[in-house]
Symmetry: C2
Subunit: 537 residues, 2 copies
């Protein structure tokens, strides 16, 4: 559930707590605080102040040769004397070794917070973490302000080519993150300077837009990113209003096609450690598909999902308050019942609602195998010159207009589901596998947790395997970012995953187009591939 | 030879070339440039631009995971494309690993320069190095502008306690270094942005004054430094006008007593690797004495040498143009002959000249064993109420005034030489050694190379061991700084030395005062300790 503003914020972790994904002693945060009782200088021991702090730190915590930024040197000395030797050092555990980023008088180990951000193209989800206790204090979501510059990432990248466009997009994003963070911090009586780390997961374009890196080459053949594995960097360089020496970590991307969000899904699913094979589908504005096990991992940029996120389908909208997320249709009267996110009057239909609706239309015979509206009934009408199914009459709608799904929308959805299934088919075939070999089918992405796998199978969007093999990863992008803040081992595991993933180009496969045509059918031209659907109709 | 201005600059490396101190393949500079031919992105290989540069760098040069500052990321990408894949990366080989500090189109490996600075309390010596070829292009010297705030370091540290005093001292030093560097660069048609590294060696106080670190606790018991082992830092943080990402390295100090200049002496002498014992005396404004071998190294703050550097002795001056550096006195006429640095009319007497003069006065019988002027002659006169020896009459002097050494000056020099000899005696005794066990006696420091050991022995300032055991290290502080720029191995060797050195407090030794009294005699109350002097008189 994605609340639109702070007042409606809910704890997104009711379903999943990042601690459950860590070993019991697995808390080893990106930023660590250590309290030290350092002996003061004497005639017998006149080591330098900074040297004596580092010596004890190494002895006490095993952290060797942390780097001390030049500007921190005088401060360490002052704090050492101000605190009569008792002080707390803050260390960012960077790739190249620990870096001392703060020092305070006395014991301040509990003052250690961080921010994880799921950089969705449409929604941003923020998680405020307590790194000392290893918990998520609260999560909140806001719309990505870059939506105003283009619903899809491609049009935003075009905006970047205007003078100042790139800086503008970066700034609106930072302003929104800083604003949402400020609200979270105020609620928990935490100050910005107590936030020492920020981790962000997003697709390759979003990470570029977040860092202010040029997307000029990312949006054109051969779609090359400026960087995929950004190192731990100063958060202030991005304009984040956190501690002045806080660090920023972007989850790595792989090429232009697999973002840190998808890699986070692998990390959360642990499919990269399983002996048996799994598939992971990250359904966002763009969909990525991962197939593999502990020995190999392949990724493909799958069927893009804008049809499922609003923008393409006229009644579509992002998963937010007032979005219809589930639909049932009475087989006899063809009357629908539906539920909305937050229980508000409906404003549109989000991805899971669209899948439900199309599947119900099919099962109740409103549409035929080709996705054509085939019935005459009370709520079958014409809209914009197309046959349409009216899900919500105007008087019940939150917008004052009826919510309808047209024949045109249905064709878009059919293409989307066919592309997804074809991608899955080509990928498993290339690997010499069949769908039956899949032990798990993970669904990640913002609204992945709301998709009813039975409905998706009914449409022939995903394979007809036992439903218990379908597993939702909830917001694995946000969860992955949280894990990278809470555990350096998990962060390294993620980086290892990024190096293991191999990209496969699916539409160069000679079978792709024939398979796509065969999949433009509900559930499929080869109904034998979907025995459970045949039984259900 | 220390020229006062650029026009008189001479190559201080006529006597010593840092390359002679490196193994034939020992050039491994602090900043390294690597030229790369990186493949451009394609549909088959759309790694990030920065990632592909780092991948090739690792493959080609073995440099693993160099850190890439956030601000460098866009530039690497632009240069990669501007150069159609051919580019030069510049890497600072920091303790924590390599850091990418510059990137240029094409092959620019030859554009790699550095600055070494001997941060003397009185004189600064600058060395412009070509890191690509591993040579010193030129050296020059200027007076330390902080002299205007106090001849000795202690009064400068007191100046630091005035509001703005510390910043003021730091700034005048930077202005002078920047100015002297600019002259060197212009001569060699090099630009400041081609200088990627600066290394500086000085005593602990000078390093603090150079970095702008508080000396408040360094000048008071227990004399504790802010830091002894400063890590490689950004040069711009100090205000050095070099490349914006150039690095700064201060040679480590040990406590308040042994500066990086003394440690550089050990490195240059290689006494820390010898099986037999050596002594190293670093004669600057303050003198440090090191005793040891490959198994142990002890250091003591020895007799301070201001009497040898001008300021205490009225006719004394720093070793510079017009300073009398060598003196002979005719045994019969008692008339002197002398030479000056640069062959200019004499303005004063530098340390080596004072040692020569006092020894000659003693050998010719002008002064007795207590250092008292004991003869009547043409150039024995009265000056300021003291008996005095006129070395230069007014008409030959570069200042228009006669250059005379008074009885008062002689007493100061006697104290200085006695303190030095006593320190050496106590130290060798504490180690259970006698002077005969010393294989080498190294003399370092700005004017160390000009001291005639025979004369110093004559005064009883240094032990009466075979003269060939006395070896000059020339300007080992500057040489050490050069070595740290040219060789990362030498830099690590220096840091290893800094960890091995043990400090000994000499004046807590019960024998110190009686030994000092015994040494207040020429050459010594126990003439048997100086058999060669007895033979010479």
């Amino acid at each position: 559930m994605i609340p639109a503003d702070q007042d409606e914020a809910v704890n997104l972790f009711e379903a999943q707590d990042p601690r459950q994904l860590l070993a019991p002693d697995g808390l080893d945060p990106l930023v660590r605080k250590v309290v030290l009782n350092v002996s003061l200088p004497s005639l017998r021991d006149n080591r330098g102040d900074v040297d004596r702090v580092l010596d004890l730190l190494e002895k006490q915590s095993g952290i060797q040769n942390p780097s001390v930024p030049f500007g921190m040197v005088p401060r360490v000395s002052e704090v050492l004397h101000d605190g009569r030797g008792r002080l707390t050092v803050t260390l960012a555990m960077k790739e190249s070794g620990a870096e001392l980023i703060d020092v305070m008088v006395g014991d301040e180990v509990a003052s250690n917070f961080a921010l994880a951000v799921d950089l969705g193209s449409t929604n941003l989800v923020l998680y405020l973490l307590d790194l000392h206790r290893g918990v998520v204090l609260e999560a909140s979501a806001v719309e990505n302000p870059q939506v105003a510059f283009g619903e899809d990432v491609l049009s935003r990248m075009h905006h970047c080519e205007k003078p100042g466009g790139q800086a503008e997009l970066q700034k609106v994003l930072m302003d929104t993150i800083n604003g949402a963070l400020a609200v979270l911090l105020q609620k928990h009586s935490i100050e910005g300077r107590q936030v020492y780390a920020v981790a962000a997961a997003g697709n390759t374009a979003m990470v570029h837009l977040c860092c202010g890196f040029s997307t000029r080459r990312l949006c054109r053949e051969p779609y090359s990113p400026v960087i995929n594995r950004l190192q731990i960097s100063p958060a202030r360089a991005l304009g984040l209003q956190v501690h002045e020496r806080a660090v920023f970590y972007a989850l790595p991307n792989v090429g232009s096609y697999a973002g840190g969000d998808a890699l986070a899904g692998i990390l959360v699913s642990q499919m990269h450690r399983a002996e048996k094979f799994s598939v992971l589908v990250d359904v966002g504005t763009n969909a990525e598909i991962v197939l593999g096990n502990r020995h190999w991992l392949m990724v493909a940029a799958g069927a893009a999902g804008p049809a499922l996120e609003g923008g393409v389908v006229r009644c579509g909208m992002r998963a937010g308050p007032g979005a219809i997320d589930h639909v049932q249709i009475d087989r006899g009267s063809l009357r629908p019942t539906w539920s909305t996110i937050g229980g508000l009057p409906p404003k549109g239909i989000c991805g899971s609602g669209l899948i439900d609706l199309m599947a119900e239309l099919f099962l109740s015979g409103v549409i035929d195998e080709r996705g054509k509206i085939d019935r005459v009934a009370e709520n079958i009408m014409e809209s914009d010159g197309h046959q349409a199914y009216r899900l919500v009459p105007a008087e019940q709608s939150g917008t004052g207009a009826p919510i309808v799904l047209t024949q045109f929308d249905l064709e878009n959805l059919l293409r989307t589901k066919a592309a997804m299934y074809t991608a899955l088919t080509v990928m498993t075939r290339q690997a010499g596998l069949s769908f039956g070999d899949l032990e798990s089918f993970f669904v990640a992405g913002t609204f992945g947790s709301y998709i009813d796998p039975e409905k998706a199978v009914t449409l022939g969007m995903v394979p007809d395997i036992p439903l218990e093999r379908y597993r939702t990863l909830h917001n694995s992008a946000g969860m992955g970012a949280c894990l990278c803040l809470l555990s350096n081992e998990k962060r390294r595991e993620l980086e290892e995953i990024s190096r293991r993933v191999t990209y496969v180009e699916l539409n160069v496969d000679g079978d792709f187009m024939p398979l796509l045509s065969a999949a433009m059918f509900l559930p499929h031209t080869d109904a034998a591939q979907f025995p459970s659907v045949r039984a259900r109709r």
